[in-house]
């Protein structure tokens, strides 16, 4: 145990140690997933995160020390969001034809995500700051943190909830909609984007480019709708 801590300490002093660990964990997670037949619950993001957390706790490494050397991967999230313009462009004709349905879906879906999160938390006896931190959890991190701050939630808690919601959405969207009898790529994509932002989008993009394009659209529009309406609604409720 002491030896492991010493090795971990020396390892995470190296530049790019976290980068290596992250990619190694992700590749291992993908390989494990394939080995056991890629069941939906064995989501590569979830498995890779579990592997990283396991190694960090085994070697007694702090999250900060890991993140410092893994930042390079994290920083690619911005360019990846911009790159979503390409599948969106490729599916522009299909999106145009579904425009009305998309706007209704995103508006109702986004509002139901926020309202149901608060109502369920309230019914289960959550404290007010936790309820407010839960409200924006379905939108992408940067927007969610801003909203949480604005309406009186805890931004750090919201950041964690956003990631958990994303992984959950990536896992449940396809099986849940199949159970519900929805077999449409566009509707599934939009739902994944609205409920679970970019992590859900990543999952749907792996299934089909059109589904991924609708997920990216759902993520972007839901962020805009939520950022516009939520602070106003909370203000009205308070008054």
């Amino acid at each position: 145990m002491i030896a492991l801590t010493a090795i971990g300490d020396a390892f995470f002093r190296l530049p790019l140690a976290g980068l290596f660990l992250t990619i190694a964990a992700y590749e291992s997670a993908s390989a494990i997933g394939r080995r056991i037949g890629s069941p939906t619950w064995a989501n590569p993001v979830l498995l890779a995160i579990a592997l990283v957390i396991g190694i960090l706790s085994l070697t007694g490494t702090s999250y900060q020390a890991y993140f410092e050397t893994a930042k390079l991967i994290h920083m690619l999230l911005g360019p990846a969001v911009v790159a979503l313009a390409i599948p969106l462009y490729n599916n522009l004709l299909i999106i145009k034809r579904s425009a009305t349905a998309v706007i209704f879906g995103v508006t109702l879906g986004g509002m139901s995500a926020a309202v149901s999160a608060v109502v369920i938390a309230w019914a289960m006896g959550a404290s007010a700051p936790v309820m407010l931190s839960l409200a924006p959890k379905s939108v992408t991190t940067a927007i969610a943190i801003g909203i949480s701050e604005q309406i009186g939630g805890m931004p750090e808690l919201t950041a964690v909830l956003v990631v958990i919601t994303g992984i959950l959405g990536a896992i449940v969207t396809i099986p849940l909609l199949r159970l519900a009898g929805v077999d449409c790529l566009r509707a599934s994509g939009l739902a994944a984007g609205v409920a679970s932002h970019a992590i859900g989008t990543a999952r749907l993009l792996a299934v089909d480019e059109t589904a991924g394009a609708f997920a990216g659209l759902g993520m972007g529009l839901c962020g805009v709708v939520t950022a516009t309406f939520m602070p106003t609604i909370v203000m009205l409720l308070r008054a």
Partner: protein, 151 residues
Amino acid sequence: MSTVHQLAGRRARAEGGGVSLARDLLAILGCQLAGEIAQRATGVPIPGPVLGLSLMLVVLILRRGPWASLQSNARGLLKHLPLLFVPAGAGVAAHWTLIRAEWLPITASVVGSSMIAILVTAFTMRAVERWQRRGAAPEISGARPLHTEHR
């Protein structure tokens, strides 16, 4: 005897009309940077990368589509999109204490509201499309069944 310049020119042509990974990155980063600047300048509550996405989409519409290497490099980057969430995701463990105190209402809320949001979005979209189609609108293409799409 070919000169160094001639050789370099020949290589550039062989690599596909001189459009390269560097130029694709420049286009993507340029859009993101413009988005970040626009966000800071106007103070809109929309993140820079999302504004960058909109800008890139406008550029693609004006150019009538991405050039070949941008198409393939963007696809390559997006193929590994899940990987990019691992560093942020590992932070869940560091913030565990925030969740532990009220884990039950938090879990119920996240699970319940995610399922509600997924169902409401998908059913709303389907209902609106069915309502539109009643007016004898043309069949919407791209409506392939999801379960045939697994790769």
